[in-house]
C-alpha cells in the first residue's frame, strides 16, 4: 500500500518533455526559403542622368516659388557650389554661390556641404535638381558620396534629382 503511493508520487514528479519536432519543422522550412532568397550583397541604385537639351520658359516667381538648379563642381581642392534658375535674378544666384575647401585633408567636407544644401532647400523648397560636374581625376566613390550628400540628409529630402555632367570647355 505504501509502495503504490510512492509510485504515484514518482509519476507526478516526472519531467514534462517539450516536443520540439513541430517547431523544428517550421524552422527548417523557413530557413530553407530564406537561404534561397539570401544574397551576399544588397544592391541598391542612385537614379541619375546625363544632360540633354531641353526647353525652358523664363517665368518670374516669388522667392519661395523659385526653383533653383544647384551646380556642384567637384574639384581636386574642394567643392564649388553655384546655382542656375530662370526664375531668379543674378544677385540672388550670386549670393547662393560658395566654396568648400578640402583644407589639406583627404576627405571632402561633405557634412558642411550637406548643411549648406539644407539651408538652401529651406529657402527654396521647390528646388529638387543638382548637377554634379566632377573634374576628370575625381574617383567614382567620391562622386557617389557627393550624390548621397546632395540627395538626402538624415531622412530629409534635399535634391533628389541628380544629373552628372562633364565640364564643357
Amino acid at each position: 500500500m505504501l509502495g503504490s503511493r510512492h509510485i504515484l508520487k514518482r509519476s507526478d514528479e516526472e519531467d514534462a518533455d517539450i516536443d520540439v519536432v513541430p517547431i523544428m519543422n517550421v524552422f527548417l522550412v523557413t530557413v530553407l526559403l530564406l537561404l534561397i532568397s539570401f544574397s551576399f550583397f544588397n544592391l541598391r541604385v542612385i537614379n541619375t542622368s546625363v544632360p540633354v537639351l531641353g526647353n525652358s520658359d523664363a517665368v518670374m516667381a516669388q522667392a519661395s516659388d523659385i526653383k533653383l538648379t544647384v551646380i556642384v563642381e567637384l574639384e581636386d581642392r574642394g567643392i564649388r557650389l553655384s546655382a542656375l534658375s530662370d526664375e531668379a535674378d543674378p544677385e540672388t544666384l550670386n549670393r547662393v554661390g560658395t566654396y568648400f575647401s578640402r583644407e589639406n585633408t583627404s576627405n571632402y567636407p561633405l557634412d558642411k556641404f550637406s548643411s549648406y544644401l539644407q539651408k538652401l532647400k529651406t529657402q527654396y523648397p521647390k528646388s529638387d535638381t543638382a548637377v554634379i560636374i566632377p573634374e576628370g581625376g575625381i574617383v567614382y566613390d567620391t562622386i557617389i558620396q557627393t550624390m548621397d550628400a546632395a540627395r538626402y540628409s538624415k531622412d530629409a529630402q534635399l535634391f533628389p534629382h541628380v544629373v552628372i555632367s562633364g565640364k564643357v570647355g
Binding site: D17, V20, I23, M24, F27, L28, T30, V31, L34, L35, S37, F38, S39, F41, N42, L43, R44, V45, I46, N47, T48, S49, V50, P51, V52, L74, P134, E135, G136, G137, I138, V139, Y140, D141, I143, I144, Q145, M147, D148, R151, Y152, I164, G166
Partner: protein
Amino acid sequence: MALGRRSKRFTPPKLIMTSMVDIFTFLLIFLLVSFSDHVARFSIDGNISLPKSATKTDFKENIRLVVSKDTIWLGEEVIAQINDGTVKGLDMNNPQGSVLYQKLIKYRKYMDQTQVDDKDKYLILFLCDKRLSFRTINSIIKTAGMAGFPNFQFGVLKQ
C-alpha cells in the same frame, strides 16, 4: 534465495534538440535581418568594388553596363578594354564609331519595336568600380547618352 531476473525495459534514446534549436534560431534571425525581396540574379566580376551608399532605391534590371578597372561589359558580353583609364576603341571626337554606341543603338531600335509601355525601359543599370576616375566614366556615360540612354541607375552597395 530466489533471485528473479530483472526485466530490462527498453527505453528509446532521447535526442537532445536544444543545441539544434539554438543554431536554427540564430540562423533564422540572421537570415530574416538580411532578407531581401529583390535578389540580384546576375554575377559581376570579382575585381569590381562597388561604392557604398545610404540610398534605399531598388534596381530595375534592364540593360546592364558593368565597368571594371580594365574591362567593359554590356550584359554578358565584353565590348571594350580599358587601358590606363582610357577606353580602347572609344574616340570622343567620334563616339558613334565605338562598339558601345553601336550595340546601344541596336538595343534602342529593338526596344522601340517592342512597344512596351514602360517609361524605364531606356534605363541603364550602371555598375562601376569605385576607384575609376570620372574621366573614364564620363566618356562611357556620354556615349550611352548619345545612343539614346541618358538615364542611369548607378549601382551601389547598401551601407
